[in-house]
């Protein structure tokens, strides 16, 4: 493989990871607020299908995207409403919704199977895209990919460097304490669930109008992506930058599966396709190693300086879920 092919391939990784980044960051916002939206997988399918259908019918990419976002928000608000107002289990509702939206996508999408539809065009950035190597790697995408880059930074900045972001972390951590500090906990939970849902919804049209343009029903290859996004949210420790890093790792593994296949004829292609999934699980295990008893014991034996560093690194690696994740909070 030539170096040019590798650069194109890596740019492809950034491009195909964009929808996963959207879904992961969306779910990160939602879970930071203390709500688990388990419907991500089905939502992506339904929003991919509906935005394709709308774009085909209206000949407008714009309305296609609107449709995808609305679907995502709608499903997310259903989770929020049944949890906050009806006090139902978020996990149960989300799980039912993920199955329902998936079937709905396949069923309602039938008439649009295999149709030709519009797709988003590339917008090479003037001047910058002409830089050798870097231009191809970073500045020759469609707007969605650029948006995914901006979103990572913006979400990270919002969550960790703004006042509303601090409150967001607070309501997922200890809603009662956030409430006594004046935060309208449940209102914010609706808001962030809707925002998160909108981003998950955006992943749909990013597939059906760009990354994997079109709608091919069950062979669209989108099934499972939502579960990966949910895992990445955890792997990323509810941090957009780390979550996005995971998304790129996953896209990279998928790409490697494709390019390495010809070199490894003995390994069935399915193995390489499935490999990214167990690899993600291994990473999850590794991330949480600092919690285990034997690691703590080993640490205790180190000299003080080394121990302090090791503890710091482990503390950084370790992911701690928002304590109030999945619980409801009743304002009097």
């Amino acid at each position: 493989m030539s170096s040019h092919e590798i650069i194109i391939g890596l740019a492809g990784v950034l491009f195909t990871a964009a929808p996963i980044v959207f879904a992961t960051i969306g779910e990160t916002f939602t879970e930071r607020a203390g709500v688990i939206n388990l419907s991500v997988n089905g939502t992506i399918l339904l929003s991919a299908m509906s935005s394709f259908a709308v774009a085909v019918s209206t000949h407008s990419i714009f309305w296609g995207f609107v449709a995808g976002i609305v679907v995502g928000m709608g499903v997310a608000l259903t989770v929020a409403f049944s949890s906050i107002a009806l006090k139902q289990s978020q996990v149960a509702v989300g799980f039912v919704l993920t199955l329902m939206t998936r079937d709905l996508a396949y069923f309602l999408g039938n008439p649009y199977m295999g149709l030709q539809g519009p797709r988003v065009h590339n917008w090479p950035i003037p001047v910058l895209s002409k830089i050798p190597v870097l231009g191809t790697l970073l500045f020759n995408f469609d707007p969605l990919t650029y948006f995914s880059f901006i979103l990572i930074i913006a979400a990270w900045w919002w969550i960790f460097h703004t006042r509303p972001g601090l409150i967001l972390r607070a309501i997922g951590e200890r809603p009662a304490a956030a409430y006594v500090r004046g935060a309208p906990v449940n209102k914010l939970r609706y808001l962030y669930t809707a925002l998160g849902g909108a981003l998950v919804g955006l992943a749909g049209p990013t597939y059906s109008l760009s990354v994997k343009a079109g709608w091919k029903g069950t062979i669209s290859g989108l099934d499972g992506i939502g579960w990966i996004a949910l895992a990445l949210t955890i792997f990323g420790g509810w941090d957009p930058v780390r979550g996005a890093f995971g998304a790129y790792l996953f896209a990279l593994l998928q790409w490697l599966g494709l390019v390495l296949q010809p070199y490894m004829p003995n390994i069935p292609s399915q193995v390489l396709q499935v490999a990214p999934f167990p690899l993600m699980i291994l990473t999850l295990l590794f991330v949480n190693i600092g919690n285990t008893e034997w690691v703590k014991r080993t640490l205790a034996g180190l000299p003080p300086d080394a121990r302090r560093w090791a503890t710091r690194i482990l503390r950084w690696m370790q992911v701690v879920p928002p304590s109030a994740l999945g619980t409801t909070f009743e304002e009097e």
Partner: protein, 499 residues
């Protein structure tokens, strides 16, 4: 600011937690609020801080009616509250906690906040590291952080709900000095407690609640007997030391060493006999807990031996200790002792020896009702444990203990309990001692340790004193030992490792 509460009522289902309470508090004073467990103190304060809404009644601030729909309204009106259990964010940093709730702007005012935190801390003689994580702080420090935060937000009325529970003697002194100072600056302080000594040294006036009603007010010099009568409707007292003849040895600890990554205790030698009570004194985190947990089989000792009833139990599991009749009651009742969400009768069903597969509802209910009566628990068999007041949770825990135990290990057996409940708890425990159970407990209440123990071990930074005879030790001696006097030097070493 002057506060007036008028005819406040609050119901929780059938419980009338606040019954027609009318109280006015002038500005610049420290108002005490006394009452037994479950009297309705926290409820009233939560109403004043906007956390709960009264079912009837009104609040006036400087004569103007004030409607509080949420804590946000109260903060805007200048009312801040420190809740009974610190409502903060342990996994976050001190500075983040400090800024949390700052009402304006998109960016985080990090530099401003850091400066404000440090300068306020200096004014009050607190030392807080803005970059430390809150879960590494003591309860007292978390409280100091909350006080500074509220002051930064401009609170003019500060409510403290039982702030002295779980803090050290020095922290208490600092807290009281801060409160006096705030009052002298014209702020209104409300101080909730059930300890008479604290009212006596601190409060300019006191109101007493009993069973949801305001039963009276008093001014200094206080007549403590009157206050007790108002609180409980009768006179109660601790009574004399109970002496119980000791039997044969139950627990033998030989040259024990226990450690975790913060602290190491070693060279503990002790023999505890039937009917004996051993008190463990020392500042929080000096190693008392390690010893208790080792004796319960929860942590494996790194050296030495533990014998129970003549059997070497070193390194055995919690369950084998349990089978030998060793019970352990942790400090955090809701986290480790009881199961939130389960009812009292479900707890009794769990605690019972498992015989069948299906729960015999009728039998469990009967047992639960018996225990509720015998242990005087204010609650019903179908009350969930978290709806019980602190005192009643502790009673429930004691009721759940199996009969014929050999050794009971307890952390803070009466923390948060009013005088009557505390006396009741100890009467129950001494009753157990008469039936030849030994008790091993830690407490930060020196009076409690001196009054109820036979012998005392003092912990300081992981080092353990020789057993002291409780009859001949004074509070002063004990206080000095806890502060590290009498132990050989190098007191800093332990703290250094803890960082």
């Amino acid at each position: 600011m002057k506060i007036e509460l008028r005819n406040i009522h609050k119901f929780f289902g059938p419980v009338h937690a606040n019954n027609n309470i009318t109280l006015s508090i002038p500005s610049g004073s420290i108002q005490g609020l006394l009452g037994e467990n479950g009297a309705g103190k926290s409820t009233l304060m939560k109403i004043l801080s906007g956390y709960l809404r009264p079912d009837r009644g009104e609040i006036l601030l400087d004569g103007k009616p004030l409607v509080l729909n949420s804590p946000a309204d109260a903060i805007r009106a200048g009312i801040g509250m420190l809740h009974q259990d610190p409502l903060d964010f342990p996994p976050m940093k001190v500075l983040d906690n400090f800024m949390m709730g700052y009402p304006r702007g998109l960016g985080l005012p990090k530099r401003e906040a850091r400066e404000a935190l440090l300068s306020l801390a200096e004014q009050f003689g607190f030392s807080l590291d803005p970059d430390a994580y809150v879960d590494t702080l003591t309860i007292g420090e978390r409280q100091q952080l909350e006080i500074l935060r509220l002051l930064w937000l401009g609170a003019k009325i500060l409510i403290f709900d039982e702030p002295t529970t779980g803090i050290s003697a020095q922290q208490k002194e600092k807290l009281f000095a801060a409160l006096r100072r705030l009052a002298s600056e014209g702020k209104t302080i409300i101080f909730v407690t059930h300890k008479l000594e604290e009212v006596e040294v601190l409060c300019d006036r006191v109101a007493v609640l009993r069973a949801g009603k305001l039963v009276g007010e008093a001014y200094p010099p206080y007549n403590l007997d009157d206050l007790v009568r108002m609180m409980f409707g009768k006179v109660i007292s601790k009574g004399k030391r109970i002496e119980i003849p000791l039997g044969k040895p139950v627990l033998q600890v030989k040259d024990l060493a226990v450690e975790d990554y913060r602290l190491r205790i070693e060279g503990v030698n002790l023999e505890v006999r039937e009917g004996e009570v051993i008190g463990l004194a020392g500042m929080e985190g000096s190693g008392q807990r390690h010893l208790l947990r080792a004796c319960a089989g929860l942590i494996r000792p790194v050296g030495g031996e533990i014998w129970v009833d003549g059997e070497n139990m070193t390194g055995k599991t919690y369950h084998s200790f349990l089978r030998k009749g060793v019970a352990y009651l942790p400090a955090d009742r809701m986290k480790e002792g009881l199961v939130p969400g389960l009812t009292l009768s479900e707890h009794f069903a769990l605690a019972q020896e498992q015989t069948g597969f299906v729960i015999d509802r009728a039998a469990v209910l009967k047992r639960t009702e018996e225990h509720i009566k015998r242990f005087n628990i204010r609650g019903r068999p179908d009350s969930t444990v978290e709806s019980l007041s602190g005192g009643n949770q502790q009673r429930a825990l004691l009721a759940l203990l199996r009969p014929n135990l050999r050794l009971i290990l307890m952390e803070h057996p009466t923390r948060g309990l009013d005088m009557e409940s505390a006396i009741w708890v100890w009467n129950t425990l001494k009753e157990r001692c008469r039936q030849r159970t030994a008790i091993f407990f830690m407490s930060s209440d020196l009076e409690e340790i001196l009054h109820y123990s036979d012998r005392i071990l003092v912990f300081f930074g992981g080092r353990v004193s020789e057993p002291l005879d409780a009859r001949t030790t004074t509070v002063e001696q004990l206080g000095q030992l806890i502060g590290g006097r009498g132990f050989e030097s190098q007191p800093e070493a332990a703290r250094e490792v803890a960082k």
